[in-house]
Symmetry: D3
Subunit: 299 residues, 6 copies
Amino acid sequence: MFMHNKRLMYTVRVSEPDPKLASLMLEQFGGPQGELAAAMRYFVQGLAEEDPGRKDLLIDIATEELSHLEVIGSIVAMLTKGVKGKLAEGAEETADMLANITAGGDSHTLSLLYGGGPALTNSAGVPWTAAYVDSIGDPTCDLRSNIAAESRAKILYERLMNVTPDPGVKEALGFLMTREVAHQKSFEKALYSIENNFPPGKLPGIPEYANKYYNMSQGPGDARGPWNQGEQWEYVDLRQDQSAVDGGDGNATVRLAAAEIAAVEKVAERTKSDLSRDPTTGADLGAGPGAGKTKQVSG
Amino acid sequence: MFMHNKRLMYTVRVSEPDPKLASLMLEQFGGPQGELAAAMRYFVQGLAEEDPGRKDLLIDIATEELSHLEVIGSIVAMLTKGVKGKLAEGAEETADMLANITAGGDSHTLSLLYGGGPALTNSAGVPWTAAYVDSIGDPTCDLRSNIAAESRAKILYERLMNVTPDPGVKEALGFLMTREVAHQKSFEKALYSIENNFPPGKLPGIPEYANKYYNMSQGPGDARGPWNQGEQWEYVDLRQDQSAVDGGDGNATVRLAAAEIAAVEKVAERTKSDLSRDPTTGADLGAGPGAGKTKQVSG
Amino acid sequence: MFMHNKRLMYTVRVSEPDPKLASLMLEQFGGPQGELAAAMRYFVQGLAEEDPGRKDLLIDIATEELSHLEVIGSIVAMLTKGVKGKLAEGAEETADMLANITAGGDSHTLSLLYGGGPALTNSAGVPWTAAYVDSIGDPTCDLRSNIAAESRAKILYERLMNVTPDPGVKEALGFLMTREVAHQKSFEKALYSIENNFPPGKLPGIPEYANKYYNMSQGPGDARGPWNQGEQWEYVDLRQDQSAVDGGDGNATVRLAAAEIAAVEKVAERTKSDLSRDPTTGADLGAGPGAGKTKQVSG
Amino acid sequence: MFMHNKRLMYTVRVSEPDPKLASLMLEQFGGPQGELAAAMRYFVQGLAEEDPGRKDLLIDIATEELSHLEVIGSIVAMLTKGVKGKLAEGAEETADMLANITAGGDSHTLSLLYGGGPALTNSAGVPWTAAYVDSIGDPTCDLRSNIAAESRAKILYERLMNVTPDPGVKEALGFLMTREVAHQKSFEKALYSIENNFPPGKLPGIPEYANKYYNMSQGPGDARGPWNQGEQWEYVDLRQDQSAVDGGDGNATVRLAAAEIAAVEKVAERTKSDLSRDPTTGADLGAGPGAGKTKQVSG
Amino acid sequence: MFMHNKRLMYTVRVSEPDPKLASLMLEQFGGPQGELAAAMRYFVQGLAEEDPGRKDLLIDIATEELSHLEVIGSIVAMLTKGVKGKLAEGAEETADMLANITAGGDSHTLSLLYGGGPALTNSAGVPWTAAYVDSIGDPTCDLRSNIAAESRAKILYERLMNVTPDPGVKEALGFLMTREVAHQKSFEKALYSIENNFPPGKLPGIPEYANKYYNMSQGPGDARGPWNQGEQWEYVDLRQDQSAVDGGDGNATVRLAAAEIAAVEKVAERTKSDLSRDPTTGADLGAGPGAGKTKQVSG
Amino acid sequence: MFMHNKRLMYTVRVSEPDPKLASLMLEQFGGPQGELAAAMRYFVQGLAEEDPGRKDLLIDIATEELSHLEVIGSIVAMLTKGVKGKLAEGAEETADMLANITAGGDSHTLSLLYGGGPALTNSAGVPWTAAYVDSIGDPTCDLRSNIAAESRAKILYERLMNVTPDPGVKEALGFLMTREVAHQKSFEKALYSIENNFPPGKLPGIPEYANKYYNMSQGPGDARGPWNQGEQWEYVDLRQDQSAVDGGDGNATVRLAAAEIAAVEKVAERTKSDLSRDPTTGADLGAGPGAGKTKQVSG
């Protein structure tokens, strides 16, 4: 069960309204690396987790992220408080109001559609989607996803700090950024508390393909590094060794029943491409009588 | 520049058509953990990468994932070849066709909308979205995201193998699964080739908040583990120490200009809540004359 | 700040695993009428709310909805616990596993992609989107939206109860359903505590158009009721009185600058439609030499 | 059957092109509170409605909203007519054109992607989605949704009027705004013409939970109002009375078959968290040899 | 202005309810090739069209498509009428109801979420999105898009007819299918009434690249046809002639200011990849003490 | 199998960084008419194609489009290289950085969320979705879709060229634009190499409805052209001839079983609309005691 205490986890002191800055902050409210994504990622994992220690950890941090969501949302609410009041009251000339709500970023949508209230969108106005939540119900994968997510969230806060002149906002962002680092450390500990966490899952890989590195991109700039050299790697450079690596013919086949074959052949016949002639096309018709335009294109 | 060789990276041998199985395979074609997501994740990172070694690595693996996309897509195409032909030709009684295209999973949409061609959706028919691509342009984060993504893809292939009776399909899935493990290893090597990759970014955390663990979820089941105990952690258990951790009042504030204050007050006045009376509501009106129904609810 | 207590708000007692039923329950976990949508609707409103009473109400109920989200998510986790374990362990023959994960509904995606963990999708596997959150930052509107949302959620729970044979699940659904009724009542009280809550906003309507009812759909079945008859309504039946109701010519016009006019005219000239001839088209080309097929269509 | 008359429902007189203003107007064309959402909301309800009076009402208003969609779309078309022509003809220097199509708002996308034609997006360029349509096929719910939707649309028009200097556009917006008020009144009449419309549906609530108000958010600012005080409410303040309200243990349980238990235990064993040691983690590896950076973070 | 006549464009006679079939029909109601997509495609084009003939054509057909939307929606409403009533009334045992609403396809979501009312989703339950509308405001492109869209809609109806045993439904589908053919013919006529409609737009292509065909996919199966052979084509087969076709070095470059160079170099230095050593990675840590598992994978 | 060569297909020479221009270029990277959409459209068609010639063509062009994706992505990467470095390093005052990342367009999201790396979004920041891919698995339709798509992509490049002052960028855009024209020609050839490609599919239309043109939009501006006049068309102008064209009553009907009828009637009774009285509504309650506000609206 969730409970709520009216004190924010971190006090929010905003110097003055700034709808443009507010619209940027939305990135960590309703964006892919934002606090709702974090909270939901850990919450859904926690619900299905069997291990008591990890379950506790996941719900602890999910709950903290909800508290962060409240902090960043409160920052947005403060930054838009001025334009929100004026827009609701029609308190200015329309030209001034127009300038106010189009201050930059996506402040126009934040003001018009959401009335200045924090909206679950990213900084481009794109609504939050659960497609951002990459949990799949395997702890060795989900912890890795969490580690990666915390690192991304850290950087997003760092970027916001680098563009925020308001000292009170910057201070709160610093707190939120720091907590992402702490969370990453916790998730790292949880991952490495699982013995044999690599490779994930149960099925072993096929030895023949497990240590190959296929050099698929070639040309000037081709590079070697610990990810493709050393005794654990077999470097496959020849194009012919990169296709049909199973030794087959590299084709896709299926065995069809007679009725299926008949139907497939009928379709093929009905839609077969006649290679024997050069048909007049719609483009030919459309190129005009003198076809001058086509000539220009065709040189 | 990309080039293409007509031989698949792995030969696809499907025993017989099975539209239900085909619709499940879509998970790794157009699903969040699928091959397009993988290819695009590395490709966009590669385009912006400055480090020559990592750039090469990213494009190598992006290209291989595109080749995997072709393999899994070819599996789908073989599994649907029968129903595709029959549906195009109207080759069966409608009742039989209806049964054929609703064999299970989301085979109905795969058949009807996409005509049996592999579609960039997941197994529920949800179109692929770039919201699945979590690249943010910082290598220490992006490599962690790649490590996590490869681990997830590995498990998805493992699950598919666990439900696939067709030996040829299972064999190809085994190849694809193994390659995800190899890719994870490469990305791990690349991450740890960056010295001081943790914490990500440049700004240091705020020492005061960096080592705290807030025990936000309490009650039976509360647990301790390396993620919240040991000398590196300060465990914060008291609710009062979890809010307004900066020592402030835990409120959100902003300084407004006079005109802004005036507008805010006007809105507040116009929409203020009258606490002094118990108003009749629409629900009261709707509960009906005898209000019997409300009584039933209200007990 | 949010806190968490490990006891659920309502005890969940599931009789036996049932992945099909689980996939239906997702409707109230990650669907448009589900608990996340409810929690987020009230939470974002609460963050921006100025009125202290309403702010408290909104956060109270937002928090309760998060607790409901946990209850419904726990139901899903219990219903999938069996298939989840088996799929992870590969504990059955592939044909049996295939049957297990395609039990009906969208259980295939729940099992494959989410590993049986509760996922923030609706019952069709569509990821939750903040497009479901219709808050706009005006209390008289938002409260009406909340009233409507609670009524919808009530019905969704009622439908789930009507298809749930499991008594423990049904009992928990009954609790959740009842709470939606209570919440609707609270929001009704809050709406009607605002004096003059209709029409919403500040700008008055234009008297000329405020009481008209345009009978746009005509024919057998045309009906009158309190929504279009009585002294407060002016019923507009004649088609000519329904268009250009301002008395103008019903056209759209704009004054362009000379350079703009020149450009518009150039485009118009370049793409003008030649009405004087019946051109041969791509379809004509494609209808084939004998055009037999076209004839068949054209009769 | 729908028919069309070439005269707009309201004459559109735009003073001069303004792509920025155009991009804001899209909010009511393809945004969540816009006219397509309104038309589709009522249209899908009307198709399934059994009550002849409501069916007529729903189609009447759906049809009018389509006519409004045409009006607001025509406003957009007029506001973009200048930039559209110039962009198609390349009629200006590129630097001037660049300035023209990035005038503010999301005019850049409106110009580039849609060529200045009205697009079914909101003012942030987000494509319209049927996720905005909240109809669920129960009249007492759907009418409440319609009432709420009309109130929101009214406010959106009011906001647009507050930022629109162009008198012709403002006049047309005034008409559209007024009609939303009239529609809300009609839907209110329809709702209250259903006797016993509250609570919605058929199943009664559970008396024990129907009148409780759970005070989930506590601390300074806790408030009472008609929504949680008075004889109809039982105010539940103690945290212990808010969890496991059914009197159970607040846990989630399910009865598993032996094979299911075995599989679950196997997974748990394979992924169990070892609490006895403090593992070295990837973050430890990544913190660098001197770990100076980590120290900086850790204080 | 739109108007409505209560008679459907085509009489709908459904033999008996069938929620599975209903969920398939949604493909043409709210799917990408469905009637809403068609209506909106032509409607938005019509609003911005300058040519009076095409404008009339576009609105004529948009209006007819809305009438088709009503026909297909009415088919859905009839097919779900049985389950809708029973679900609303709880008129059956829960086990029977469960079977009823999970009859196949995505009937579960159609019943649960939409109460059996026609919903603006495709047959997989994916909400309609304006991303399906590909209009860009250039008539020679938009007409081609319309031609293509009509051909796709024709095939979708054909597929539905091939799986529909109900004669009344099939008959109505036949009407709708036929109309798509007629619309395609009209749009073809409109396209070819524009002289010089190819290439679209105003800017000529660059002669050097206009007639080349790059043979990017090579190997067994390489084919020639009128699309890449004949005197109008220059067939480019050599890989070296396919890259850097401008004769440059095939690199991407930009001139940076000194401060920009400094920043780029700092990032590069901070995140450079150390190629000189083979770092221990998280995967190494996770492979376990005996690394037995890794061995298994590595062979 | 795909392979990669490190040389771009076209050399990218950017004069200087420009994040605003970069955000516009995204339209052809991750927008609906962009290169990923093109590549995926042809790739999925190619996988399912039976005809060897067309299969080769589709994969050839899919591969070239991937190479174009790399070119346009490289342009974006060069245009953002300056802001990317500065933002990562915090190399400027926050106010300057804020100005830098909000230069116009959606450069704020490109910088903040994606760190300046090319992102798979359109110019409004909307993530790419497979909903843009309209392939349905019928060659006569898919080729028409491809023709239309190439024409749209050509125009998008033309628009970008018209707003791009940077000569190196413009030159690369010219190459990409030209190739779309060449691709359209190839697809045209492929379509017309299928004999009898119109109408698409196998089922003939119903002669009675195949040649009718329904004049659905009437009034001043009604026009005739080759799309609705001439001997092949029957022009239907009378409204009565446009509805129930099958000669039926224009109603939708279904035969229900007795239990179904009973349930439907119960719902109807429970929710029937009482036409006999004018109910007091929530709006009446909300209009306030003096109802002054309502009066203002009602006139």
